[in-house]
Symmetry: C2
Subunit: 316 residues, 2 copies
DNA sequence: CCACGCTATGAGCAATAGCTCAGACGCCCC
DNA sequence: GGGGCGTCTGAGCTATTGCTCATAGCGTGG
């Protein structure tokens, strides 16, 4: 008898669910139809959900993205995760994630209370600041996590911090240092000088860090852009480097290396594990290992990527 | 640009729908996530529904029944329709519909204000009254639509009205007449005599009529039960009879025949079209044509049947 | 057969969702 | 470039929903 009661209760739950979700009746109407109190009707609808008698299917590419984002967030315990649909026309396009990064910056900068935004390297980050909608927020601060002078002494061709400051009227703190110093000692000296210490202090109080993630292979952006030489790159690869964030190379488990160029790097080192909101932005098959490692090691606690990359990260 | 806006709006709608239905967030939370007002979030969720970006799937046999019931209700403009799951073990079982009929009677009789229930013929109706939960309602009235004396002069073996009255303490009005009189004149005389006129008057004020539907073929219940002879049955079939309700034979379009046994029938004729709630209860492949005709002709404005029968009716 | 504990129920309240309206914004046509 | 039109937005109100709690019914075990 118990079984039969259960069965008929589930039948009613299904009926209630049907009337509610498919026919669009209110629970009050359903209660009248099924000759029960409204409270019971509500319980039946809940039961229908709890017993998974009813399932939702979202017929839209976004659905897959949302699910991937939820899984990444869960798996790596992220505070923020966005997955944009892969554009079949241009699978490597950073446009999609740049848009989302810009959106993130927009909403952060929209705040009336002063915020500090720290920016790292990466094409997505660069593209993002270009898309930020101009807004007047003179009390915000934009700070660079990475030196903007390359090996040859010229300023980096793309001044991300300056551009974002332009669009917001915020104070900005570029890092007037070469990416790499010639020796560890020299680095240690430089990072203690007043203007640099000031930048570090601001960066330490950042509310949001938005960083690119670079892979450490022959096409590593740090090399392509001329910040590290081929020999330096190869050395880091020998040491196990699989990715870099603001120049800081890390291995497959997301551990920062304590050797090679990392000893001469002027960039502000990542917190490990990240406790301020630190969003990594990257797409592409080549970066999957680097992103996964950064997530595992807690170098970042947020991610903006595309569908294909997200899927690849989860499949590892 | 418009297209792109539309697209991104639908993307957001999908996102909102996902967050709402799948992730189970409130619209307030979604509004914060998507950086819009709560009102807009609500609009996005609505849009998601309106654009059918999201679909509900009810994983339960009841779902199909609910849909069939809704279609029947729509198609034949019914005030009430129930479809019970076909029992694969006993495809012809009236148990399921009897249960629902009993339920219908229960809820009607539960009323404190006096109601009048009129009963017709049929195994489902008989089984239904057996399942009615006893309740004390002396002010209700139960009235028979059909004579309960068969051709041989004995009372019908099953006194439906009496049984229901037993269970409710209601006054009851059986129809103390043979099912058929020997001639039209005689019928006309009989139905005018005082006790019968009284029954007719009560029946005319019925709040609910619950009737069986019989097919008019060689296995017609009216014949099997001995109310009409083989010859009478065949005559009605020749005249186009396809079904009967309380003995009143009708053709494939649900039009009452004006000849044959219909002229000698003592049963209270159906309203055409039914305006009081008149529920037909019947299952089985043999009855599909009869049920469909009764629905088309407006002889009934409610139906209780099973899944297989419902499907067959809709497929005609 | 009664007492106990369990589950299920309905009232009432707090939270959530849906809707209407007035206003703003952008767009198009003149 | 300006006026008018249509669409979109957010505030605020009302309906609906989810939940909590006290109570009643029911089965179980003494």
């Amino acid at each position: 008898m118990a079984a039969e009661n259960d069965k008929s209760r589930l039948d009613d739950a299904a009926r209630a669910g049907w009337l509610y979700f498919i026919a669009g009746h209110t629970q009050d109407e359903i209660a009248k139809m099924l000759q029960v109190s409204r409270a019971s009707a509500q319980r039946l609808v809940s039961l229908c959900l709890a017993e998974r008698l009813i399932t939702f299917r979202l017929e839209h590419p976004i659905a897959a993205c949302m699910e991937l984002a939820a899984r990444l967030k869960e798996r790596f315990n992220l505070v923020h995760c966005e997955v944009v649909p892969a554009d079949p026309a241009a699978p490597q396009a950073t446009a999609g994630i740049a848009e989302r990064c810009a959106n993130l910056l927009d909403s952060t900068l929209r705040s009336e209370t002063p915020v500090i935004v720290a920016l790292g390297t990466g094409r997505a980050v660069r593209a993002a600041v270009e898309r930020v909608t101009p807004i007047d927020r003179p009390n915000h601060q934009i700070v660079s996590l990475v030196g903007n002078i390359s090996a040859d002494g010229s300023a980096s061709f793309y001044d991300t911090v300056g551009r974002l400051a332009d669009r917001t009227g915020a104070r900005h703190y570029p890092m007037p240092l070469p990416f790499l110093m010639s020796s560890e000692d020299e680095r240690n000296k430089m990072v203690r000088i007043e203007p640099i210490a000031k930048v570090k202090a601001v960066a330490a109080r950042a509310d949001l860090r938005l960083v690119g993630i670079g892979q450490m292979d022959q096409k590593a952006q740090v090399h392509v852009d001329g910040f590290v030489t081929r020999d330096e790159l190869f050395e880091m690869m020998r040491l196990g480097a699989i990715g870099e964030i603001t120049g800081w190379a890390y291995d497959a488990k997301g551990r920062l290396l304590k050797a090679g160029t990392n000893k001469r790097l002027t960039s502000i080192p990542p917190e490990v594990p990240a406790k301020t909101t630190t969003i990594g932005a990257a797409v592409g098959a080549a970066k999957v290992a680097a992103i996964a490692a950064a997530l595992s090691g807690g170098l970042i606690n947020g991610l903006i990527t595309d569908e294909a990359t997200a899927r690849a990260i989860l499949e590892r």
